[in-house]
Symmetry: none
Subunit: 216 residues, 4 copies
């Protein structure tokens, strides 16, 4: 592997140095305490890897506030304790059990390539994703129950609806984890579902009483 | 699930509204283009969920630049096309195959609770993590080969060494993915390994000629 | 001194800008009147500096409503016109004599580090606080008469009782100020004593007829 | 004292109940953790009691973030270890020594009644404040060195200049505390000086290189 690992591109070195001379410098005292005493984040956010979703700036995130897991399409699989590697389940377990976060937030977004891919796959228009060897397709299968529900409702914009389902399916699957349910029942934690519209910068949230997403 | 989903806490609504009125407003034109035309990130970063690691601010990240996957201890499992859900592998596949990122960066960090947990587990001091039902322990098993190597070298600070191994093991495992190797061989992409010291704000990078981490 | 004064950390600048673009913007007309015509607060609140006590949000405080003094353990010393600097006495004098507030509220709280420190000091378990050079210890001495009363009653939870005494001692000391007594006798002002339970969010108030704190 | 202590006015009970049913309810999990584990505020803010200065909303303050001391005109007296009650010095000592805050912020403001009173007193136009029995006058004497400097510069708006001096004098006096100096020298803490314009909602900060206040 060694020969393929290269020095960091200079433009990123420059930016890092700028950060160290400014933002790090002005927060040095706090970073040192955080290093010494450990993190105590108040919330976990599960968001998409998408480069257009600025999780931390959107919530004015202070260093140490948010434990952030990001994967394709902000999906959480159902509880499956089969001894395999489950990165998302591990992150949720660590946040809830070890860090004892007070809020667990699933943040979806518009124009999501993963969700659009899932829609195409479920509609039979993306045979590549349906191959067993496709990690992306297999991963997006988590969202298939959401596709079925969208199909039944036949909305005007099914892909946007499926983005909302990506949040709802994740919330539902989170509830299948015994330790999540326990924290919720003990009122040690609350769940939240959001969807971000990239172009307009808006947020809508899942409202349980109406079972709808409503503008914030 | 419905009754457990709550409205977003007001303090986050306020912060979001502040972001929308300032940062979003000044970047509106760019956000709209990004929404219309899709993302075209130059790099993928694989980092830890840790709340003290500010990936985007450290690299002066503009909207649309970095495709970011974050999991416990910034680990990548080896290529395992078994049809199971592999969130990390899916994210790497999507970044390399669909988005065709030019740089793939693994970013580790100091004071990592996941790495410390792995060290304790491998040393037989964390029976909880060794249980098959522990998602965190099973996930951290990816790093076990790194622990073995640290054990052989017997360094003064084995946990810090294991943080470096978390980066190296991930780089090695990335090389087991055929599409990663292909992109590297075609010189369409480069690999990079970094470790961030939270308290001092410094970065060290893996240098292939010396097989060591050296300060940036 | 100059070289030690730094620019405000960027994350606070961002939050301030968010506030200015939203909360300030929607209240601009009122802020301008308040600036032009001066404040006319209805109440003074004496509370603790503790970061977990949100005085203004707890009482839905609008701009201009509460004159707020915050010190360690919400203590008021007895009237001592000795020509020394007395920040708390000055604040009370200004509120009662110049602003003519209608309500003077002492707000104590649970889990108070200051009160716990006072308890340890009076019990001989905090020699540091007993040193003459300790500002904190000297300040907490104001509460020593409360400790004596708690000792006599020997309640199950003496520190919680001492938190209540911190409110009562302050109310008693307020009565030693001639201008406070005058305002009370003229029925221009009323006194109130509260204790806030941080974890449960509850309030209890001092009820004179029973000489007890009772839930609100 | 007892007969003068009254039940909390109903309008405040209603507001408190509204807060408990909404804001507290949505943050219950976090409040409970803060109660159990104690506070770890990142910053201390020294501000004026003035009812028009909304410290926590201006900085989007999350529960547990700011240790807040408020007194008349946001003044800090010089280090005077004479065994008397010094509420401000005690608050600073507790924040720096026990809580180990990373930022110490002095926040002044426009239209400050205390500063205007100090100006009148020093100009010989407020004999009441000059009486030894005036707590307010004695307290405002802390700012007298600032008045002398303003007098020398003879600016167009001397009271506004004195508001700036109230911040500078406090910063200077903070530097006379050995433990403040120690924390600054060890880079465990930084100092910041701000002045808020109530009517316009703006902030200016003290910039050490120019020895001036500049807009944020």
């Amino acid at each position: 592997m060694r020969e393929h690992v290269k020095p960091l591109p200079t433009y990123l070195v420059s930016r890092y140095q700028g950060w160290h001379a400014t933002s790090y410098a002005e927060n040095r005292a706090w970073y040192r305490r955080l290093a010494d005493e450990g993190q105590r984040p108040r919330s976990m956010i599960i968001a998409c890897c998408d480069s257009r979703v600025h999780v931390s700036s959107m919530f004015g995130a202070d260093q140490g506030e948010f434990f952030i897991h990001r994967n394709i399409a902000n999906l959480v699989p159902a509880f499956t304790p089969d001894g395999d590697h489950h990165g998302t389940s591990a992150a949720v377990e660590y946040a809830v059990q070890s860090l004892k976060v007070a809020h667990l937030i699933v943040l979806g977004h518009s124009n999501c390539g993963g969700v659009a891919g899932c829609h195409a796959m479920c509609a039979g228009q993306a045979p590549d994703l349906e191959e067993k060897s496709s990690f992306t397709g297999t991963w997006l299968n988590i969202l298939r129950p959401g596709y079925e529900r969208v199909l039944e409702r036949a909305p005007a914009d099914p892909v946007t609806e499926l983005e909302r389902e990506a949040v709802k399916v994740s919330l539902e699957n989170l509830m299948t984890f015994p330790f999540v349910r326990e924290a919720l029942d003990a009122e040690r934690m609350t769940l939240h579902g959001l969807r971000h519209e990239i172009g307009e910068g808006t947020l809508e949230q899942y409202v349980s009483s109406s079972d709808q997403f409503e503008p914030l």
